[in-house]
């Protein structure tokens, strides 16, 4: 009766992290339970069908799951939950996708009524061909992803045993000179490789690029890397050239400006989803080479059309990389069925504890609006309200004051509204990077920032992702995309790259008090709070009154 785990009837698991058996318990439940919240004392995991099937796919059986729950639980585990676990897990593997010597791909069952049931579904019917015998149905190889997706929705996930094509071989080596893969990166690479395909979840700044590079070195094959934007593509390229045996001419960039197809090609989501006259002209990129590996960077942002193409690529190994599997559109199950299950996950705080990402101090600064601003806010049109309170003058003043306080530190100011950013840039004499800034200009500014020539940079949401700015130590968020949780996580990620001097990073979120801005901020912060990044809340007056940085940090 003294286990670290409490099993709730709503299928959440509460893990007391300070318990002596907490680490063992975490290892036992990690294969099947999703870490939902990781604040300081009690972590919450959730047992979902997806997670249980994930565990089945990884070779765990219901017995192990039940045993883990029962043996670590402090209180008796509700019998109904155990029964449900066993029943859910038993649903996996009744159907499997196999290679058939004569018919190509077949859907095979060990339980005929299940096959009957799914074949009667309207979603499945168009995806299957003739029934070879009572247990086997032909599936067109191009429907492999679609049928997996549809079967998952029906609650009968298929085990994909049809294997992968090796793709065109291409030698890739990691050059581990003066650096080494971190242990968790190696775990992530191994986890992915054994599973065949899947998603690796690592915090921002924890070196996801190297996990990609490591996977490429395992695959030894031509690789297609999909990234969010051109700057990110260039960073990938630079990183690959630095860390692997690949030379510049082996890595191609496929973006709005350049269309190179090389053994390792880095393409942007934007160019892939460009639509002309109703067709996606750049889709042939997927077929242009016999790719052995496809890497999806920032998989939580994967645009819907790319999901569709991915469905056709089920015979290729797929690696998804992300900091948060939270998708604002709720398509997590599509990621599971099309890219693959989560193969590796590490709580942010754990990696911080190992020293691989910088510790961060998150502060929410509550700004009191002036009476005039409050009146104007109260009278603003509903659709204009957020914009109004997010861009008030009071916020600008406190932002400037924060910048001055951190003078000499590499500071990023991140915001949503261009007018506001322009104004801030003007007041602070800092350059502004926004959508219309050319790629060359962006790179020039980022380089200057990295080199320390520039200490303050104002950026719009173009810099949310994949911009490697290791020396940024202070980030000030002045406005955001409403309540987007993953955006908040990404923005914090900008300052989490470990600092040369082990310096603590600081993340400010400037919020207008008693407005909708405050509500959105609370929603945005939830993910990070659940990852253990507790926000301190300060009044703007205290910030202004604080004599110096020491005082500010010591609150």
């Amino acid at each position: 009766m003294t286990g670290p785990l409490i099993v709730q009837s709503d299928k959440t698991l509460l893990l007391e992290v300070d318990h002596e058996k907490a680490a063992d318990c975490r290892r036992a439940i990690a294969p099947f339970a999703e870490l939902e919240r990781a604040p300081e004392h009690i972590h919450t995991y959730r047992v979902t069908p997806l997670g249980l099937w994930n565990a089945r796919a990884a070779g765990h059986d219901a017995e192990q799951v039940v045993d883990a729950l029962v043996s670590f639980s402090r209180y008796p585990v509700p019998q109904a939950l155990l029964v449900d676990v066993a029943e859910t897990m038993a649903r996996y593997g009744r159907l499997s996708l196999l290679k058939h010597p004569a018919h190509g791909l077949v859907l095979q069952t060990t339980d005929r009524p299940v096959l009957e049931e799914v074949l009667r579904s309207k979603r499945i019917q168009p995806l299957v061909g003739a029934r070879i015998d009572p247990d086997n149905v032909i599936v067109h190889p191009s429907e492999r992803g679609q049928i997996k997706q549809a079967l998952l929705k029906l609650g009968w996930p298929a085990e994909d045993l049809a294997g992968y094509v090796d793709g065109e071989a291409h030698p890739i080596e990691l050059h581990q000179e003066g650096w080494h893969l971190r242990p968790y990166q190696e775990h992530a690479i191994d986890g992915f490789w054994h599973g065949g395909s899947g998603v690796v979840v690592l915090p921002c700044g924890a070196g996801k690029t190297l996990v990609g590079a490591g996977a490429m070195a395992k695959a030894q094959a031509t690789t297609l890397i999909l990234v969010t934007n051109t700057v990110s593509a260039r960073q990938w390229k630079a990183e690959l050239m630095r860390r692997t045996s690949l030379s510049e001419h082996e890595i191609g960039e496929y973006s709005g400006t350049r269309k190179e197809i090389r053994p390792v090609t880095i393409a942007t989501y934007q160019v892939l989803t460009t639509r002309r006259k109703g067709v996606y002209p750049h889709l042939e990129l997927f077929d242009s080479r016999d790719w052995g590996l496809i890497v999806y960077d920032e998989v939580h942002l994967l645009p819907a059309p790319v999901f569709k193409f991915t469905a056709d690529l089920q015979a290729r190994r797929r690696l998804g990389l992300t900091a948060t599997l939270v998708r604002e559109d709720g398509r997590e199950s599509d990621v599971f069925s099309l890219i693959g299950p989560k193969r590796f996950d590490a709580p942010w705080k754990e990696i911080e504890a190992q020293g691989y990402i910088a510790p961060a101090d998150c502060v929410e600064v509550r700004v009191d609006l002036t009476d005039a601003e409050r009146l104007a806010y109260a009278m603003a049109e509903p659709e204009e309200r957020y914009r109004f309170c997010a861009t008030t003058d009071s916020k600008r003043r406190i932002t400037e004051s924060l910048v001055h306080r951190h003078a000499g530190e590499q500071t990023l100011i991140i915001g949503q509204y261009i007018d506001q950013l322009d104004e801030l840039g003007e007041q602070l004499g800092a350059p502004v990077i926004k959508g219309e800034t050319s790629n060359a200009q962006r790179e020039r500014l980022f380089d200057a920032f990295r080199a320390g020539e520039l200490s303050v940079l104002v950026v719009s949401k173009v810099a949310n992702f994949s911009i490697d700015l290791p020396e940024a130590t202070v980030a000030i968020q002045v406005s955001g995309t409403f309540g987007s949780r993953q955006e908040e996580a990404q923005r914090l990620g900008r300052v989490l790259r470990p600092k040369a001097d082990g310096h603590e990073a600081r993340f400010y979120s400037v919020v207008a008090r008693d407005t909708i801005d405050q509500e959105f901020a609370a929603h945005r912060q939830r993910f990070l709070a659940e990852q253990g990044y507790a926000y301190r809340i300060m009044d703007a007056g205290d910030v202004l009154a604080a004599g110096g940085e020491e005082e500010l940090g010591g609150v």
Partner: protein, 814 residues
């Protein structure tokens, strides 16, 4: 028993000991009420059909099979004969016979066993009621309607010598059929097809249908009495032949031994107890949550009794359980007397005062109360949502859910679990099979299986079992009801002791309540176990519940903090509460949240006032407030320049003027009202109706009708002198005898209208308040709006009759 064999059941009962008789009365409680006068009466009552049926329903399969075999055997039956009918059951037979004897279904010495006649009739095979044995009637019974010549014919065909009367013929045939060797010889000569017919009928049902011209193989059997006709087109296999074909067995499958409940899984007994205690704890939480919810929002009682479907759905959502489970918890609380209808005019369900008592008890006791209520309950929650024989929906807490055998079946099932090794979880199928063996006649197959499954499911929910095996702390509850002769008081005391023991055994297994929560920076608080009641109430007030179970996860939100402030907490109290109850340091965001909500809380104030007093000159207001004469106006200053009063504006105005002040009234828009009040007016009114003491004058038609009527009455009076002191309508109404006239409504209307115009007399049939049609003679005045106004000669006054009660009309003639 004495050496002489008893002649009747009563005789035998007389020879039984008191303990044996007490055993009989205990097993067949229906014999007790009313108390029989003597043993003959007891024997008679024990032989009534209803009582015997009740007794048979409570027999296990083998005892019932023994009784069936006995019913198929000749009476009185010798023990060896009976034993031969039940091959394989020799070992258990004495026990079964003892049970039958103890229940007074059987009497007589072993060389002359007799089944009580009613039981014999109920169990013996007959055409109307097939027996469990599948045997047919005896040869003698089938031969009752056969002609003597046919009898002799049968004798001749079977190769027996002719006899001189049917009785001896039948005896000869019966002797042949009960002699295996000779019957075997006879059957040896049978054609192949005939034998297959016999085989088909041998194990029952013994009846077959034949055509009017049966084939030669059937003829062969019919001619030898191996098949006997029962009705045109139907034949039966005589019992003696069937028994021969079966090798003497009364049943195809004899079940002398109850099927063992096989174990589905075996767990550590300690693990079972912990799992069951977990469920028991959850059960207490669910019942408390359910009744707690009904403290505030009491659902209405349907007019037909019970709880509405929507309320049940809402409850299921509140409790986060399925609807059938919600119905189970409700019925459980109802059976335990914790919830009931309040009996008001607008009847609603609410927790009972007993609930408050129950809530104060220690958890072990609370659970035992639920457990004992469940053990004894005859209400079947599984029926909620189904329809009764009349198609009415059965509602939770409503009528029609009681099923007599439910408690008995439940106890049988649980005793069965109690009989297995600790930690053994029996296979539910095996349990169902065993229960069927134990009580084969108690309920039809399907409801019994359903109740059995429901018992197992409910036992798991309630914590009687953990992972399918019976928990050890339940056993004392099931040991009860031991059949002994102790006094009622002793037994009640014993029950209390056993309940106390169960509670004591359960208590240490229940999760210990915790007195703290863990507050985290993401504004959640986790209670790592069941909270102490007052802490739970406080947390429920200050935070929203996010996840329930053994632990509870709370989340603090601005809304929840505001709720706490609304309930009278102050921010400081909240801080102190959190600091005291949180085992972890209270995170800064939570402290900030509380302060932030408290800062905004109550900045706007709302109150009621009758009028206000506004003045730019604060000194003047000071003066007004200081004036002692204004005490009665209940003035309160809410701002330097504003004073409110509970009095209406006109009073305030008047009083202030009395003090020599010169206030001006303001309209709702703030404009100064001119002081001259509008002249007072009532709402629109009509003038009163005059009320003269004479009736209003009649109109012309009425008058002429009255005159006509008076004349008509005069005519009548002239013809027949009026009897003194009263009217004799018969004399005045022409042709009043005979049935009242019946005409179609249209004709009636036409006649009446014509009479109203012409002033003629009309005779009508009128259905009075007593429902009987009577004659009336009218002089109609007006026919309108479905009424006829007329001078009624029968009553001597002007009356109004509704047309629909007039059966018809006829010309009254003169």
């Amino acid at each position: 028993m004495t050496a002489t064999s008893p002649r009747t059941l009563a005789d035998e009962l007389r020879s039984r000991s008191d303990a044996e008789l007490a055993g009989l009365l205990r097993a067949r409680a229906d014999l007790l009420s009313p108390l029989p006068g003597d043993l003959s009466q007891l024997a008679t009552r024990a032989g009534t059909r209803a009582s015997v049926l009740r007794a048979l329903e409570r027999l296990d399969t083998f005892t019932l099979q023994t009784a069936e075999a006995l019913a198929a055997a000749p009476q009185p039956c010798q023990y060896p004969v009976l034993a031969a009918l039940l091959p394989g059951g020799e070992e258990q037979l004495p026990g079964a016979l003892a049970t039958l004897r103890a229940r007074a279904l059987l009497w007589g010495r072993p060389e002359g066993l007799r089944l009580v006649r009613t039981a014999q009739e109920l169990l013996a095979p007959s055409a109307a009621r097939p027996s469990g044995t599948g045997l047919g009637p005896t040869l003698a019974e089938t031969a009752s309607g056969i002609s003597p010549s046919r009898m002799q014919d049968l004798l001749a065909r079977t190769g027996l010598p002719p006899t001189h009367d049917p009785v001896s013929a039948l005896a000869a045939l019966a002797a042949l059929f009960t002699d295996p060797a000779r019957l075997g010889d006879l059957l040896a000569g049978a054609p192949e097809q005939s034998l297959s017919v016999l085989d088909r009928l041998a194990w029952g049902p013994p009846y077959g249908e034949i055509t009017a011209r049966p084939g030669p193989h059937l003829r062969w059997l019919l001619d030898r009495a191996l098949l006997m006709p029962t009705a045109p087109g139907t034949v039966v296999l005589p019992r003696e032949v069937a028994l021969h074909l079966r090798g003497g067995r009364a049943h195809r499958e004899l079940h002398p031994v109850p099927p063992e409940p096989t174990a589905r899984a075996v767990y550590e007994p300690a693990a079972v107890d912990i799992a069951a205690a977990g469920a028991a704890g959850a059960a207490l939480a669910v019942v408390e949550e359910m009744l707690g919810a009904w403290e505030r929002e009491t659902p209405a009682v349907l007019r037909s009794g019970g709880l509405g479907v929507r309320d049940l759905k809402r409850l299921a959502v509140t409790l986060d359980v399925s609807e059938p489970d919600a119905a189970f918890w409700l019925e459980l609380a109802y059976s335990a007397g914790l919830v009931a209808a309040d009996g008001e005019a607008d009847e609603r369900f609410a927790p009972t005062p007993d609930y408050d008592v129950w809530r104060e008890q220690p958890p072990g006791r609370r659970w035992v109360r639920l457990a004992t209520a469940w053990l004894a309950a005859t209400r079947v929650p599984g029926l909620v949502g189904s329809r009764d024989a009349k198609g009415r929906l059965l509602a939770a807490l409503g009528p029609g859910l009681d099923r007599g055998p439910a408690a008995e079946l439940r106890l049988a099932t649980l005793r069965l679990l109690a009989g297995t090794e600790p930690g053994h979880a029996p296979d539910p199928e095996a349990v169902a099979r065993r229960i069927r063996w134990e009580l084969p006649r108690r309920l039809p197959e399907e409801p019994r299986a359903r109740m059995c499954a429901a018992t197992l499911a409910e036992a798991e929910l309630l914590g009687f079992t953990g992972r399918g095996a019976l928990a050890s702390f339940v056993r004392p509850l099931l040991d009860g009801g031991a059949q002994d002769d102790r006094a009622q008081d002793d037994r009640a005391q014993d029950d209390r002791d056993r309940e106390g023991e169960a509670a004591a055994r359960l208590a240490p297994l229940l999760p210990r309540p915790v007195d703290h929560v863990l507050v985290q920076a993401d504004l959640t608080a986790v209670a790592p176990g069941p909270l102490l009641p007052e802490l739970r109430q406080a947390m429920a007030l200050a935070a929203d519940v996010e996840s329930k179970g053994a632990a509870t996860v709370y989340r603090f939100t601005p809304g929840s903090v505001r709720r706490a402030l609304d309930a009278g907490w102050t921010a400081a109290e909240l801080h102190a509460f959190l600091a005291a109850r949180s085992r972890t340091p209270v995170p800064q965001p939570l402290t900030y949240l509380v302060d932030d909500v408290a800062r905004r809380y109550g900045r706007l104030r709302v109150g009621a006032a009758g009028s206000y007093l506004r003045c730019e000159d604060e000194a003047l207001l000071d003066e007004v407030l200081a004036d002692r004469r204004t005490d009665g106006l209940r003035l309160r200053r809410i701002a330097p320049t504003i004073v409110v009063s509970a009095s209406p504006p006109d009073t305030l105005l008047a009083r202030l003027r009395e003090f020599g002040l010169a206030p001006a009234a303001e309209s709702t828009e703030g404009a100064v009202l001119t002081l001259r009040a509008e002249p007072h007016r009532t709402p629109p009114r009509t003038a009163p109706e005059p009320a003269p003491d004479a009736p209003p004058g009649a109109d012309e038609t009425l008058l002429s009708a009255a005159v006509r009527a008076i004349r008509a009455g005069d005519h009548a009076a002239l013809d027949t002198p009026r009897a003194p002191g009263g009217r004799t309508p018969g004399g005045r109404v022409p042709d009043a005898a005979g049935p009242p006239p019946r005409t179609p409504a249209a004709t009636t209307l036409r006649t009446l209208q014509a009479a109203a115009r012409s002033g003629a007399l009309v005779r009508i049939g009128y259905v009075g308040a007593d429902g009987l049609a009577a004659h009336r003679v009218l002089s109609p005045v007006r026919v309108e709006g479905g009424f006829v106004t007329a001078f009624d000669h029968t009553a001597d006054e002007v009356r109004t009759y509704p047309l629909h009660r007039i059966t018809g009309s006829a010309d009254a003639g003169q």
